[in-house]
Amino acid sequence: MELNVFYDSFKLPKTVYQMGQIRLLKFDLASLIDQLDSLQNQELVTKDKLKVNHLLLELLEFNNLDYTKRSDLILLQGALESLESQAQILHFSFNQRPRPEFIYTLVEWLRGNIGPKILISVGYNPSLGLGFTIRTDNKYFDFSLAKRFSSHHQELVNLIREVTET
C-alpha cells in the first residue's frame, strides 16, 4: 500500500493525542522493527515473542495492522513521521489537570468534528477559573468564565449598583 493512501486512512485512537506520544511510539516502533529484524532470520515470528508497548499495540490494532509484518510496521512508521511533520495541534488550558476520560472525550469530539488527526497539548492554569482556552498557530480562543463576564460587563455593573443602592 502506498504511504499516501495509508496516511489518508490512518487513524489515531483516542488514547494517542499528544506529540510526545507520537515520538515515543516512533521510538517503540523502531525498537519493534529491530526486534522483528533480529527474529526474522531465525524462525517463524509469533506474537508472543515480541515485546510491544500497549499504546503501540492499540495503535496497530486501531489501524488493522499486524505487528508481526514488517511492511505494516514500516507503513506505520511512515505515517507517524508524516504525522509528526504535518500534525495539527491545539493547545488547551484548563484550571485543573484533566482526567484521562475527559481528554478522551474531548479528543473524540475533536477528531469527529475538527480533524481526524488532531493532536492536543494540555496546560494547567489555575487562575483560569471555569472554562478553558485554546491556542492555535495563529489565534487564541478564550472560552473562560472571565471572558464571558467581560462580554456582560455593563450588566454586571448595573446589577451590583442595584444591589448596593438597595
Binding site: 495539527q88 484550571n95 475527559f102 475538527i114 471555569l130 478553558f132 489565534k139 463576564f149 454586571l156 455593573v157
Partner: protein
C-alpha cells in the same frame, strides 16, 4: 529903653537878694528856737530816769526779773502746749490726708492696672477668637479638600473596581468553587463552546497548514 530894662533888672536882683537875706535870718532864728526846745525836752526826759533809778533798785529788779522769767516760762509752756496740740492735730490731719491721698492714688493705680489687665484679656480673647475663626476656616477648607479628595479616590476605586469587575468576580468564584467543579461537569459547556466556534477553528487550522 535898654537902660530902663537894665535898671529894672538890677533893682529886681537887689530886691531878690534882700529877700534871701531876710529868709535866712528867719530860718536861723527858728533853728535856734528848736535847739533850745529840744534841750528842754531832753532835760524833761532825763528827769524821770534819774528818779526811776532811784526807785527801782537791784532787788526790785531781780524780783521783776524772776516774775518775768516765770511768766515767760508759763507763756512758753502754754505756747508749747498749744504748739503740741496744733502739731498733733496737724500730724493727724496730715496722716489722714496722706492716707486718703495714698488710698486714692492706689485705687487709681489699681483701677488702671485692672483696666490694663482687662484690656489685655480682651485683646487676648479677641486674638484667640480670631485665631479660632481662622482655624475653623482652615479646618473647613481642609475638610472640604479632604472630602473632595476622598470622593475622588472613592470614585477612582469604584472605577477601578468596575473596570476589573470581571477579574474580581472570577477570582472570588475560583476561591469559592474553583476546586469543586470538575472538568467533567463542564464538558457540556466546553463542547458547546467548541461547537459554536468550530468553523473558526477549522479555518484557522487550514490557514496555518
Amino acid at each position: 529903653m535898654t537902660i530902663w530894662w537894665v535898671a529894672v533888672i538890677i533893682v529886681f536882683l537887689v530886691c531878690l537878694g534882700f529877700g534871701f537875706i531876710w529868709i535866712a535870718l528867719q530860718l536861723s532864728r527858728i533853728k535856734n528856737n528848736y535847739h533850745r526846745s529840744s534841750d528842754i525836752l531832753k532835760q524833761i526826759d532825763d528827769a524821770p530816769e534819774q528818779d526811776v533809778e532811784h526807785i527801782f533798785n537791784k532787788e526790785f529788779r531781780e524780783e521783776l526779773r524772776n516774775r518775768g522769767r516765770l511768766h515767760f516760762e508759763k507763756i512758753i509752756g502754754d505756747n508749747a502746749m498749744f504748739l503740741q496740740q496744733d502739731l498733733r492735730l496737724t500730724t493727724s490731719q496730715l496722716n489722714d490726708f496722706m492716707k486718703s491721698e495714698i488710698s486714692k492714688t492706689l485705687k487709681e493705680e489699681f483701677s488702671k492696672y485692672e483696666q490694663s489687665i482687662n484690656d489685655a484679656k480682651e485683646l487676648a480673647v479677641n486674638s484667640i477668637q480670631k485665631t479660632l475663626s481662622a482655624l475653623e476656616e482652615q479646618r473647613q477648607s481642609l475638610s472640604k479638600q479632604v472630602n473632595e479628595q476622598i470622593e475622588i479616590e472613592k470614585q477612582k476605586l469604584i472605577d477601578r473596581f468596575e473596570s476589573n469587575l470581571t477579574d474580581i468576580i472570577n477570582h472570588y468564584l475560583i476561591e469559592a468553587i474553583g476546586d469543586q467543579i470538575d472538568l467533567s461537569d463542564q464538558m457540556d459547556y466546553i463542547l458547546a463552546d467548541l461547537e459554536n466556534n468550530k468553523n473558526e477553528i477549522i479555518e484557522d487550522l487550514k490557514n496555518g497548514t
